[in-house]
Symmetry: C2
Subunit: 359 residues, 2 copies
């Protein structure tokens, strides 16, 4: 082990000449540890899963599933550190509510109760806090969830960044739902609920220093209603995942790695808006790795795929839904994409960080 950052300085000449090999051993936390890519996963595996080992945590799900009395319950948590806190299409408040609603929805659960924990930086304008909590209230009301408990801490100026919000949530899983990564199997059809990469591009457009003119707005939205419609259509929806940090590439890779199947996707089938596509080209970003906050990927038994797709397209949040690929009994643990020009490429998990603090 070594201090990757100080070493970088010493060896800058050597490193400039060498092809950089991603390193996994670090003595300090890097921004990339929060990026949703390989480093994030290594940290989670080597520290958190190792330390807190238990059967519920090891399921590789977006949330924890357990029973309370006769009910199947899902529990999730997420901290939000998005920068800037206000962006086109939303703010950290509705993002924090929708994000946790979505994690519950990805377990097939109907979201019921949320907690909200605030870490405020000294000097935050009270007006900002009021706007943010107002958005939280509206987002919660939209889905019928209640914010039932909360906490507020304040840190000195320069020891935080305006506001961080943690939301944790509890949802009830209906009897007919059985959504688990391990249900994914070869033959399953992969459906995405709409156009990708909108949240990430909206954040970039709002971020200081990136003078970038676009009307792309964040897709932040609660997916629980869409999911319940889908579940009403088919019992054979096997896995759901919202492709947030790390984009659809990371979500596909996570499921491929957990279930040891192969994913095959078709680039030309992936829905993407013109402006987002143009922005990605200008900025040199790959939209597959850019965060979404109101989209889901569904792995569905091939016999039910058309029916589920149709149900999705009838919902306002699924009108651009499309089949983008299938699960294959080949290249296990990997995601392979047929590109628009017909060649094949491996879509790997990003090692580091494309856009820090995206959610």
């Amino acid at each position: 082990m070594f201090d990757s950052q100080s070493k970088k300085k010493e060896n800058s000449v050597t490193e400039a000449l060498a092809c950089p090999i991603p390193k996994n051993d670090y003595e300090q936390i890097l921004l990339a540890h929060g990026g949703g890519g390989t480093l994030s996963h290594n940290l989670i595996q080597s520290v958190f899963l190792q330390m807190f080992r238990n059967p519920i945590l090891s399921e590789g799900h977006d949330g924890a599933l357990f029973e309370i009395g006769q009910e199947r319950v899902a529990m999730t948590t997420d901290s939000y550190v998005v920068h800037p806190i206000f962006f086109p299409g939303g703010n950290i408040g509705d993002l924090a509510i929708n994000g946790t609603i979505n994690d519950l929805a990805m377990c097939g659960a109907i979201p019921k109760f949320l907690s909200a924990g605030f870490i405020l930086e000294e000097g935050l304008p009270l007006d900002n806090l009021k706007k943010i909590t107002d958005s939280m209230m509206r987002a919660a009301a939209r889905t019928g969830v209640h914010i039932v408990t909360g906490d507020t801490k304040v840190v000195d100026r320069g020891k935080g960044d305006k506001i961080f919000i943690n939301t944790s949530g509890i949802g009830i899983i209906p009897a007919h739902a059985d959504i688990r990564p391990l249900r994914c199997k070869p033959g399953d059809v992969i459906i995405i609920s709409g156009r990708i990469a909108e949240h990430g591009i909206a954040i970039m457009s709002a971020r200081e220093g990136l003078a970038f003119d676009t009307t792309v707005i964040s897709d932040t939205a609660p997916l629980s209603d869409l999911v319940q419609n889908m579940l009403a259509t088919s019992k054979n929806i096997h896995v759901l995942r919202d492709p947030t940090r790390g984009g659809i590439a990371s979500a596909l890779n996570e499921i491929a790695a957990t279930t040891v199947v192969g994913m095959h996707i078709d680039e030309s089938a992936i829905p993407i808006g013109e402006q987002v596509s143009a922005a990605c080209e200008i900025l040199g970003l790959d939209p597959l790795y850019i965060a979404n906050e109101g989209k889901l990927i569904a792995w569905v038994d091939r016999h039910d795929a058309d029916r589920v797709l149709e149900a999705m397209q009838k919902h306002p949040l699924g009108k651009h839904a499309a089949i983008i690929g299938e699960v294959v009994d080949d290249h296990h643990g990997q995601v392979v994409m047929t590109t628009s020009i017909g060649s094949s490429r491996i879509v790997d998990m990003l090692s580091g960080e494309q856009l820090p603090r995206i959610c």
Copy 2:
């Protein structure tokens, strides 16, 4: 409304001559908004409770109580921003586990499932993170709770402070427990489970710049086992509260304000260690306002008080338990203390902040 901080500078001469009247209208968040005193409560009332209004939130409890199927469930959340992250007797990790276990215990619940959300500052030594998660694991195992879901975010250097942790928790309330602020009534006896102010003094001793020699260690500990022993002894334990931020003064005032009864306490009956007492005298701090992290206050029907006290004293975490006062049908909403020298004084809620970032 006005900006209290800039105004203070302009009027410093006038203000130096005047008796400072605490102000409640601020345009910005101050450190004192997180101190657990009047400003904290105003913020909670005027922003959070106002905005997220619902019957569960309005109970004034340490956690939310609701039903899932046939079971009564408690849910709580707390973010931990303690500075420094390592201190005599513990670190931010076991504090985060014990604190949320205790909030559940104060609802009479048996803690079951916890979530853990980490906000890491770029540059945090990985060794520190491992020590902290190791403490969390041990603290969880001690009480038999499982950390079932988690989340990690990383913020850039200078936009956080090493590590902040949010823990949310779910517990099951046994059939015989009915712990609610509103059950508090005149005649109830007030019992504290042990010596006060140890956590706050331990933090101060560890804090940079306070060259202060003491062997006081934080009392951070999980109170759920003690609480279940108490509940097995009596059905007439009406309210429980752990006097964390703002100390026992704030906890007593909160219950007095919520239930509109009067509290009378006897200074000489309050257990306090010699070193803590000496430290408070040297530093000019009132121990009634200093945080505890392994103590509880119980409001118990007078007929059962001796039995409950005895059960507490048999438990390692209650061996210094003592009756410190009673609930009276007088000076409603206020806490009045008979001092050691025999006079009476009102123990008010602190307006601002005695020790920021204590938990």
